[in-house]
Symmetry: C3
Subunit: 238 residues, 3 copies
């Protein structure tokens, strides 16, 4: 896994790095006391790590999930603003707490690397987009946001415009023995995105197969809408 690009132009000490999807990773070693009092989700943490992107949600949640598994950090807040730079989905704004700056920095550096890796299953066409993610073992971030059972396999599929996502969701659920965790659409659980989103769990091979089945139908529907969905990175579900 490549290390994230360090922002060479900047001497800003909070900067950890940047990567694809207009993603930036930052740390604050000692958050201002008035801000801590106002931002209830910080709990009593003074050292925080921050990841946010203009485009993407599930991939970055998965990236934070991996980062928190490997470091001594806690997920404090996962927010999904309405963004995607003019497309119909989410960006993200994720805050983690750490005992000290070094732990926060290590976790955010890992999250930037995983963000690049997981961007391989985000597809953008001239008309819409798909986002897919898969984890063999749901950690803290995935449990917190998607109510996934700890340590179990986790799958996520989203398609935009929303009708594409709905057929992907149905395809997933029929592809094998998987259990629905969350169904989200413009009026249910999203920031009014033009997506249908499905999160699910089950046996690892069943979950992975379901994500791949949804990807196939989603890419076909994007193509029918006018142009091919192009992955932002290297697809990792072979």
């Amino acid at each position: 896994m490549e290390l994230p690009v360090q922002g060479e132009k900047s001497q800003i000490t909070e900067l950890v790095g940047t990567t694809v999807l207009d993603t930036i990773g930052l740390v604050i070693p000692n958050v201002d006391v008035q801000l801590r009092a106002r931002m209830d989700y910080l709990n009593d943490y003074r050292s925080i790590g921050i990841l946010s992107s203009r485009t993407g949600a599930a991939g970055q949640i998965n990236a934070i999930d991996e980062a928190v598994k490997r470091t001594n950090c806690e997920v404090l807040s996962i927010q999904l603003p309405r963004d995607t730079k003019g497309w119909g989905g989410h960006g993200n704004y994720i805050v983690i707490g750490a005992a000290n700056e070094a732990d926060a920095r290590e976790a955010i550096a890992l999250a930037l690397s995983y963000t690049k890796y997981y961007a391989g299953e985000l597809y953008i066409s001239g008309e819409g987009h798909l986002e897919l993610t898969y984890s063999a073992h749901a950690g803290e971030a995935i449990q917190k946001f998607f109510h996934a059972p700890a340590g179990e396999a986790f799958g996520f599929v989203a398609g935009s415009p929303a009708a594409v996502g709905m057929v992907m969701a149905d395809t997933c659920m029929k592809a094998g023995d998987v259990t629905l965790l969350r169904y989200m659409d413009a009026d249910h659980g999203t920031s009014h995105t033009n997506e249908v989103i499905l999160a699910f769990t089950g046996d690892a091979s069943a979950v992975e197969s379901a994500v791949r089945a949804a990807r196939g139908v989603g890419l076909g529907l994007l193509s029918a809408l006018g142009s091919e969905g192009i992955p932002v990175g290297k697809p990792y579900l072979i």
Copy 2:
């Protein structure tokens, strides 16, 4: 009325077709049982038709209204995500229920054709947009979403940025003897769009005149903002 383009590249059985405004029409003959349990708005329907677009709301609601009038289907859900591909308005995600796949497919094919027709009164400029729609007889979709009286004439005007829509709304109400049904803005009834939206009813000729009056002032204001509003199709209110 032209038939929608069939997605020739795709063998996906759920695909009915696609049309302007990044609109896709799909059917699911037998929605997965876990999804049905979670999506309360499906009621007990197993066969559904789905229409969604990146851009446009009222035209597609009007299109579904016409489709449901002519087929044996029921409107289950009308959602308006924040979209328009970087512009300040809505896209749409509409689900209808049918007794069987054939009925759903027929309705969605009709809705795609009407979507193309009604796109003639959606105008996009470099700075903003207008959306207008008119129905001589409000059917189920228009009644459900806009609280229009059954079978009466229905008018809808929206302008973005919102100030344009507000002057259009005022122009409408003063253009003749019409009755206000819904007023919507960023904080009232929209998905935080940059629009003012007005829905109204009344005598057919008064409603149609009011829509045309609002169109005139709206196109003038778009022009003042910098460039002409271009209709997506052929304007149908002559």
Copy 3:
């Protein structure tokens, strides 16, 4: 201060003018009675002025604040739709009430001029944006929206993607003796924008310094993300 461009192409009597950021200023001398009954925020005003833009929030609120200070008008509604023409922030839709059309027209003409001036501290890059504003004396609009104490200095900083804004907010609070008024993010007080926003008050020189400190770090972070933030006008905080 330059006068706003008059919409020469348009004979629409409601038009006051247009300016940067797809901003339009309008008046309605006598709002339709049905609209007045529905739009509760109009109170009993018949003459209103309207300002709205595709991009920008704090600058335009500050512009209205200056306009209302200098005229006989009242701020009725400040709404911040999710817009910015594909970027991660707000547009605006602001309505003021006046005793008559002339007062409304004077206030909106002033607000258009100030909008152009305050746009000097709005920076847009290929990846994100910053918005900053400063007022030496908070008037009615700033008090209403940001809960600022009357007549005191007021500062506002926002950065997108949200992590950029969070470091700007922390920088502000640490830059000197300032008091936090509002903290806003995708889930708190915004229309789901991809921003962190901070509003604060304090001694005039401390507030201005804090805004400049946040601007420095924000521009550095935008640069690290890939390209320089370009001001929409002439920066006024030297």
